[in-house]
């Protein structure tokens, strides 16, 4: 039992780190603009398919695809922002439906271009097993874990230290005040979406190396990321990371202690409980009740 739990916790942490990579993008744009980008899962998927494209064409390591993936997700992410920016009334809800529609378009575009076959990395190095005492992982999972840590640190630094990052935080805490201080909120929001594109590109490539992708995966990624965002609460980058790891571990422990058929159920129930009873999330600061 102990050995089982050790492995479950370890696996859960590794999976959670990829949830974190996917969720950071949603959390960033949500924090900055109060807008949930329901097409974010599809952005991640798009990046994963870029990794597939590069690997299957050139045989290079999929991580070499990050620049190309970013070029694509960056452009799409900015396009999403420019479309959202055209919404005049009921911005919160209409943007939700708009990004949902964009998600449908992207899912089907991926289906048209890449067909419905399942794809994953063929790199023997990344698929190789690695073990620490009694726990095992694929090298790709460890790579993704450390990458996730590095990306999180970089994002944290960006928000803390750079002008744009501080502007994002200023706009997210008080848009009007930020405007009075001479910050153009649209430029800042655009920057947030661009950075979300970067995050999506890394997340997508990581996903491709450690798991199987197919065109219909997008909405599931978005939902998982949103669960993490809710668990974390708004406005905390380390919070997102911790919440993602928590979700990953909870899922893995559900499989180990109960049944693997209940894994998704537990995630959803956890989501609702936190939503209802801890409106600030587990690590967040602000309320979200209407």
């Amino acid at each position: 039992m102990l050995e089982l739990s050790q492995q479950a916790i370890f696996s859960g942490l590794l999976v959670g780190s990829v949830y974190a990579l996917v969720a950071l993008g949603i959390a960033l744009t949500f924090g900055a603009m109060k807008i949930i980008n329901l097409a974010h899962g599809e952005l991640v998927l798009l990046a994963a398919y870029m990794a597939y494209f590069i690997e299957s064409r050139t045989g290079w390591n999929p991580y070499a695809a990050i620049p190309l993936a970013f070029a694509v997700t960056g452009v799409v992410s900015v396009a999403v922002y420019l479309l959202i920016d055209r919404i005049r009334e009921h911005r919160e809800l209409n943007s939700l439906i708009l990004t949902f529609a964009i998600g449908i378009v992207l899912t089907n575009a991926i289906l048209l271009i890449f067909a419905s076959d399942v794809r994953s990395t063929g790199s023997p190095f990344l698929q190789d097993a690695i073990s620490f005492h009694t726990v095992y992982a694929m090298k790709s999972e460890l790579t993704a874990f450390f990458l996730s840590l590095a990306v999180m640190a970089a994002l944290w630094w960006w928000l803390k230290a750079s002008w744009y990052g501080r502007a994002v935080r200023a706009v997210s805490s008080n848009r009007d005040a930020a405007m009075l201080m001479g910050v153009d909120p649209r430029r800042v929001e655009l920057a947030a979406f661009l950075v979300a594109g970067v995050l999506a590109s890394v997340a997508g490539v990581a996903l491709f190396t450690m798991s199987v992708v197919q065109p219909a995966l997008g909405p599931a990624l978005t939902v998982k990321a949103f669960i993490v965002t809710v668990l974390a609460g708004v406005g905390s980058i380390p919070g997102v990371f911790c919440a993602a790891l928590l979700l990953g571990v909870t899922e893995a422990m559900t499989v180990t202690l109960a049944s693997s058929a209940l894994q998704e159920l537990v995630g959803m129930v956890l989501f609702l409980l936190v939503l209802f009873f801890m409106p600030n999330g587990l690590f967040g600061a602000r309320a979200r009740r209407g």
Binding site: I36, L83, R86, I87, E89, H90, E92, L93, N94, L96, I97, L98, F100, A101, I102, G103, I104, V105, T107, N108, A109, L111, L112, P219, V223, F226, I227, V230, A261, L262, E264, L265, M268, V269, F271, L272, L275, F276, R288, R289, G290
Partner: protein, 321 residues
Amino acid sequence: MRTLSVPALPALLLAVAAFAVPLVFGANAYIMGLFVSGLIVSGVALAWALLGNLGGMVSFGHAAFFGVGAYASALLSARSGLPVPLSLLAGGAVAALFSLAMLPALRLSGPYFALAILAYAHIFKILATEASWLTGGSAGLARFPTLPTIAGIDFSSRLGSYWLLVAMVAACAAIYLAVKRSHVGTALRAMAESEDATRVVGVNATLLKSWMLLLSAFITGVFGAMNAHIINFLEPDYAFSGSWSVLPIIAAIFGGYRTILGPVAGAVLIYLFDQLVAKALLPVGHQILLGVLLAGMILIAPNGLFGLFGGKRKRAAHAAA
């Protein structure tokens, strides 16, 4: 005093169209089948729009009610021998009962509510899969009664189902209209303007919203039950399929979710467009056109086709008030 919220002319046109369809396409079982499926979506779109327009809540998980209604009606008619007309209503009632579990979500603001309902839809689907002693699990249910023949009319035939659905959609539209015009509707509209202000006047916002959620769930459940008895096979993946949440949204936005007729007409139009036009253009991935349409409507005409229709009149009414 004529403050009709249903524009009389479009309503008349729709009624004429409803009668014209069987005359023109009655012999073509395939086209009639498309209309029947389109009308099912109409009913759900109406329920979705009711919640959105009166309750001010956008839901991404109406599949939850649709599936619950379908399973409840199928099981009640098969296991306890309830006649199908009653089991349809029972399906709606059970869906409304299940929506009670969502009451805590009413306190959440817009996007959170939308996604909380989505979580419920997922949860119900997993429960339907796991409770195989009751639902047959993922193997599904096949042996339950079809729509009956009453007074010589075979409602399980395409034409019979069509007329039944037309009547049901009309009845639901009438209920919607009645609610909208009642005191409840007035209070809800005031609430949409400013929830705090209405609270001061003594309107219990959460209670009113709860009633809207229950009503919306009931209507969706009834149409889910109808669909189950028409298709005559149920499995969790199908009964709780995301498309029962997505198509009504597209239909209602397209038609105009602040109107009553918009979602009804929008659903049939969208369904026919998807099946007859989009599918012919793009055999694989034809939903991309629906996505483009939805995005375009939100950006260009967020009030939908019927919203464009009634827009001027409404503004005039506001000015008069």
